[in-house]
Every structure is written in structure tokens, then in C-alpha cells.
Symmetry: C2
Subunit: 147 residues, 2 copies
DNA sequence: ACAATGCTGACCAAGTTGGTCGAGAATAAC
DNA sequence: GTTATTCTCGACCAACTTGGTCAGCATTGT
């Protein structure tokens, strides 16, 4: 349900958040720091750009930047941009009204309950929080780490 | 994350639960009542049999039956049987210890949180509950329905 | 002008999904 | 013990998704 698309895309946003304020970050840097194929990353960045999460500039010194503060980027929107619907199964859609039942899918309420639960959790988590957690982890592993 | 495998498999179990106590239920009946391809259903029943959810008998008058009361069949186990791991992403496994991190997947805690949340919910729902809800829905739609 | 950088779309191999099909095995009824 | 019924198992298949590569173009700083 969440493929490497979402995983990699989130990693890329974290990278941009970590290096926010240092000017555009280049594709190649993100790719090497986050262990993502450079050309694959292209497609993910394109999607993130289309949905307004990042801003990109071309030419020498160009690169990618967050379009908004990391605290305003919630995981739900990012993942839905990258993955399409997070619905656990076809018959449940975000925008389906309550009375719009697939008559063959009597278990819809179960899938919807799962779906809603997931989306609620994801809506509470921002990219900024992921950055904090990552930095806490780095501290724990290598307290003297710095560049 | 949940494909028609899980969906169809659950439908089949509901069908068996509804007709429990009436002797073996035949593949063809399940398939037609629940709108599943008969030969595809074969594979799902095979899996459910392997994992001890149902019992099957061959020959005329044969068919399939629940191996335990419907109240004892929780959705979590059924779905994990049919779908394999329900993990939303590769780096999270049910049996991975807390200190077993993929060093490249710093966001593991997010996926794990989602995963654990889902599994908790699914563990609380039994096939019996699905049957009750289905019957409640039938009442609501066609109060005079009976066979 | 040229080099650095992003942008885009075509293409591809491998795996998954949702099936179909056919040969065979068990068993109840005759 | 033959036959009809029913499940069992494995091979096969088309369509789609995933995770990627690649070439060529667009933009822009120097």
C-alpha cells in the first residue's frame, strides 16, 4: 500500500527540510545521501512539484527546495500525492459518500474504518517531526557526529 | 495492501458462517452467492484450508465448512493468511525486534505505528461480527427478506 | 556560447493480481 | 465397481504495477 515511491519521496522531503535555508539542494545530493536512484528520484520530485510541496530551479546552482515550512507538510498529503489513494482496497474512496455502497462489498465498513484510522494518524505527522526524530536518532547513535 | 484475495476470502468465510450447521457448502454456491470466480475461489479456499480456518470434504455432498466458530475467526489472522504480511512497507515485519532497524529506513517508526494500529483493529473484528453486520444491513434494505 | 542542472516521456525487466484450465483424487450413490 | 460429484493441485496466462534506465530537451548562471 505504501511503496518505495512514498518512502523515497518522504526521504527526499526530509533531506530538503534538513538543508532548508542553504539554497537549492541538488537531485544528485539527495539521491546519494538518501540512497535513491537519481533518475527514479526525478519522477518523485516531479510529482512533489506538481502538487506544490517543493519548488525547483534549473541551471547551474539550481536544485530543489521545500515550498512551505516542514511543519506544514503532513505525511498524509505527501503520501497521497506520491501513491495515489491510500485506500486499503478498491471499494473505499476518500470522497465516496456514506450511502454510496458497492452492493457486492458488504464489508466496506471494515476497510473504511481501517482507512480512516490510517489517514487520521498520517495527518498528525509532519515532515518536521520526522526530521526531529531522525536527528534524535543520529544523536543517540553517534553523539559526536557533525559536518 | 488488501487485494481481492483478502476481500474474496473474507466473503467466503462469511458465507460459510451464514450457512454453518447446514452441512458442507459447495464451492459453486459460495462463488455464485458472493460473486467470485469459481476457479479463483479454489486457491483462496486452499489457503484457508492450509491455515486451518476451514475443513473440506470431497465427493458428492462434499464442500467446505468453518473449522471453528465464526466468533473465533479474527480478521487479522484470516487476512494475514490470505495476503501474507499486511505491512504497509517492506522494512516493517511483524516479527522484527525493536532494535532491528533498516539503517536506510529512518522512518520505520511511522510505518510500524501504522502497521500496529491496523493490526490491533483487525484483531478485534471476528467473522461473526461481519455476519451480524451483514444481516443487519439486509434487514435495513429488505425487512421482509427471507428464504 | 557553454556547462550545469532540472524536465519529460519512452522504454524495460521483474513481480503481482486475478484469473483459467486440465488432470487427478476421494467418495457417496447406484 | 462404476459413475457422477466434488474438491485438489499445479501449470499457464494477460494485464498491471513497481522500480528503474535512458536520451533528449529546456532553462539559466558564468
Amino acid at each position: 500500500m505504501i511503496s518505495t515511491k512514498g518512502d523515497y519521496g518522504v526521504r527526499a522531503l526530509i533531506d530538503l527540510a534538513v538543508h532548508a535555508g542553504e539554497g537549492p539542494v541538488q537531485r544528485a545530493d539527495i539521491a546519494s545521501r538518501r540512497h535513491i536512484s537519481e533518475s527514479y528520484l526525478d519522477h518523485l520530485l516531479a510529482q512533489l512539484r506538481r502538487d506544490g510541496f517543493i519548488r525547483s530551479t534549473r541551471g547551474p546552482g539550481g536544485g530543489h527546495e521545500l515550498a512551505k515550512p516542514a511543519a506544514d507538510l503532513c505525511l498524509l498529503h505527501v503520501l497521497e500525492s506520491l501513491e495515489g489513494s491510500l485506500a486499503p482496497i478498491g471499494c473505499v474512496h476518500e470522497d465516496s459518500a456514506d450511502d454510496e455502497h458497492d452492493p457486492l462489498c458488504g464489508q466496506q465498513w471494515v476497510w473504511r474504518e481501517l482507512y480512516d484510522g490510517m489517514r487520521e494518524r498520517l495527518a498528525e505527522i509532519s515532515v518536521a517531526e520526522l526530521v526531529e526524530r531522525e536527528q534524535a536518532r543520529e544523536q543517540a547513535i553517534a553523539p559526536s557526529y557533525s559536518i
